[in-house]
């Protein structure tokens, strides 16, 4: 049995707790949170040991792993504490708010041969896995562009009292929503070398962003556009969509299905034909040991457990891979502050002055 401790019992923490506790190879032996009421409740009804201090939990509970689902700004310190204690770590996304910290933690985990994983669950969604399989096979030829979208109804009025509404704590649609499509694009194309034209827009929030629009660029001139809003009242829940354009066709995928158009099916996986192909989630999804809110959430925890059992330090969504998303997030924050005024309407820049010249109005 793998002995797990939960750190943070908000929306993600409770659902991870439920799913991993139901895993046949796992026992959740301890939980840690700042809410005394919640801890009292869980202890009384389930008998689990409770702590309000993570270090105490690590010292007393003989854990094999922790699952960290705290506000993003707390991830780095807690991950370090867990790694120092020699336990394997599953951390919610984004991994950390500073890519250099992410790199240091990745190295620390590697040096201790610990299993690490970050909660980018979309990589466990059947349709998005199918996109990866198609791209790896070269089915749509040379990829020129990806459109990565995510919309949902998180902030629909001008208030909110949790950490998610505070940029300083890692809230905002960039870290909360955009991180997911960014991570998928990283999976498909690798980490981009540059981002341009990033807009961190506000619809309702005062302290953070509700919308993210940006262009990612790779050295070979492949591009991706990101369009994200968590203030979209038309959506019932977060919906993510990826469209990939290639020289031999196009792929569109969301949680429900993966649609592929192929000019020529020679390079495509077996079963794919010239023209339109549709694969539904029912065909692309494997059964999970326990279901709460989507197979991908159970599947990612199952992968984590299996990697601990097998001692597989590298694997899907390890710290190294999640650091790539942190790098792009940091690039977008920097780009959003870049001075673009030189190319405003009516003041078109002269070619020899470059696209990103600093504002030097006379």
């Amino acid at each position: 049995m793998i002995r797990i401790g939960m750190v943070g019992l908000g929306k993600m923490g409770l659902s991870h707790y439920s799913m991993v506790n139901a895993h046949p190879d796992v026992e959740v032996v301890a939980v840690c949170d700042s809410s005394a009421y919640l801890l009292g409740l869980l202890n009384r009804y389930t008998g689990v040991e409770t702590f309000n201090d993570m270090s105490k939990m690590l010292a007393q509970s003989k854990l094999d792993a922790v699952i960290i689902s705290t506000p993003s700004v707390l991830h780095a310190q807690m991950v370090k504490t867990a790694l120092d204690a020699g336990v394997n770590v599953f951390c919610e996304k984004p991994f950390s708010l500073d890519p250099s910290t992410s790199r240091d933690l990745t190295e620390l985990a590697r040096s201790k041969k610990l299993v690490t994983q970050v909660g980018y669950h979309y990589r466990f969604v059947g349709a998005f896995k199918e996109v990866k399989r198609l791209l790896d096979s070269g089915a749509i030829g040379k990829v020129s562009h990806i459109l990565a979208e995510a919309y949902g109804p998180v902030v629909l009025k001008p208030k909110g009292s949790t950490w998610r509404s505070k940029k300083s704590e890692g809230g905002g649609s960039l870290y909360d929503y955009a991180a997911h499509p960014i991570d998928l694009v990283n999976w498909y194309l690798g980490v981009p070398s540059e981002v341009r034209g990033t807009i961190l827009g506000q619809v309702f929030s005062k302290e953070t962003d509700d919308e993210v629009f940006s262009t990612m660029v790779w050295p070979d001139q492949t591009t991706a556009q990101l369009s994200v809003s968590w203030s979209d009242p038309s959506q019932r829940k977060m919906s993510t969509k990826i469209t990939v354009f290639g020289s031999n066709g196009r792929i569109t995928a969301d949680r429900q299905e993966c649609q592929t158009f192929l000019t020529d099916a020679t390079a495509a996986p077996e079963g794919y034909i010239e023209g339109w192909n549709v694969r539904y989630t029912t065909d692309l999804t494997d059964e999970v040991y326990f279901y709460v809110r989507g197979e991908e959430y159970s599947a990612q925890l199952d992968a984590f457990v299996k990697r601990i059992e097998g001692g597989e330090v590298e694997g899907q969504n390890s710290f190294g891979s999640a650091t790539g998303a942190d790098e792009v997030l940091a690039m977008m924050v920097a780009d959003a502050n870049r001075d673009y005024t030189g190319i405003a309407a009516g003041s078109a820049p002269q070619a020899d002055r470059g696209l990103f010249r600093r504002r030097t109005r006379s």
């Binding site: 019992l9 908000g10 929306k11 409770l14 659902s15 707790y17 439920s18 799913m19 506790n21 139901a22 809410s35 005394a36 009421y37 919640l38 009292g40 409740l41 869980l42 009384r44 009804y45 389930t46 008998g47 689990v48 109804p153 998180v154 902030v155 208030k159 909110g160 009292s161 949790t162 998610r164 509404s165 019932r236 829940k237 539904y280 989630t281 029912t282 065909d283 059964e287 999970v288 040991y289 326990f290 279901y291 709460v292 809110r293 197979e295 159970s298």
Partner: protein
């Protein structure tokens, strides 16, 4: 998009009613309240209509949790927020009656829209059932069952994606002969905890009132094949299906009439 318009929903419900399908299993979304209000104005037209509410409308809570945190979300949906303020401030001991009180208040808040209408079965939605099941919060099922039996004279219903393990826990906490709705389809789609074989075993071994949903496995199984297979299962009480038009209600009803043996 079609269902944006309330009258489009009413048309589908009318079609079902006229086919002899008088049970409407629904969420407690605000729009359901509008449908219910409409039906209340035409008691003759809907004389036989009964409702199987499924609560809570989970996205409402999930989104509220993102905005206000868990405690904030619960407070937002309780009729009297002041009641809990003291309890939620740390340090206060957690009495079981607190939790029973909160749970029953939340149930009552969700049931308000059905006041005066027949709700012979009241369901707890799968997101909540399966979350509690995984957490090992077993007493919650008992609290829910006792409250809907006592206050609403209704049968407690549970929707789950993990039928075998839920049945074991319901038995353990003494919820007798519950109504349990789960995915039951020929291809084992979203039948967690052992797939078709384990579900057939559960149907044979546990005393419960089984309702099958997702019998077409989101369209993966042709209708005739799906209905023929599910109707042969032992101890199935009914089938719930989603419908968007008069035509598909009619064709599904004909298939069920053909294969269903009482």
């Amino acid at each position: 998009m079609k269902f944006q318009d309330l009258s489009a929903v009413i048309d589908v419900l009318d079609a079902a009613y006229d086919e002899g399908i008088h049970t409407f299993m629904c969420t407690t979304h605000d729009r359901v309240g509008e449908i219910v209000d409409y039906m209340r104005t035409k008691p003759e037209r809907y004389a036989e209509q009964i409702f199987y509410p499924g609560m809570p409308y989970a996205h409402k809570y999930a989104n509220a949790m993102t905005e206000d945190g868990m405690v904030g979300a619960i407070k937002r949906f309780l009729p009297d927020g002041g009641l809990l303020d003291a309890a939620f401030k740390g340090g206060m001991s957690v009495a079981k009656k607190d939790i029973e009180g909160i749970t029953t208040l939340l149930i009552d808040a969700e049931m308000k829209m059905f006041q005066g209408l027949p709700t012979p079965v009241i369901f707890l939605q799968n997101v909540v059932v399966d979350l509690l099941l995984g957490l090992g919060f077993k007493d919650a099922f008992r609290i829910f069952a006792d409250h809907v039996r006592k206050k609403y004279n209704a049968e407690p219903g549970f929707i789950t994606m993990n039928l075998p393990s839920l049945l074991e826990v319901l038995k353990e906490v003494g919820v007798e002969n519950p109504v349990v709705c789960s995915n039951i389809n020929k291809v084992g789609f979203r039948m967690s905890g052992g797939g078709v074989a384990a579900y057939e075993k559960a149907l044979n071994e546990y005393e419960f009132q089984a309702i099958a949903m997702s019998v077409f496995a989101s369209g993966a199984i042709p209708p005739r094949e799906a209905i023929e297979w599910v109707c042969k299962l032992p101890n199935l009480k009914s089938i719930v299906f989603g419908a968007s038009s008069r035509a598909n209600i009619h064709s599904t009803k004909i298939l069920v009439d053909e294969y269903w043996v009482d």
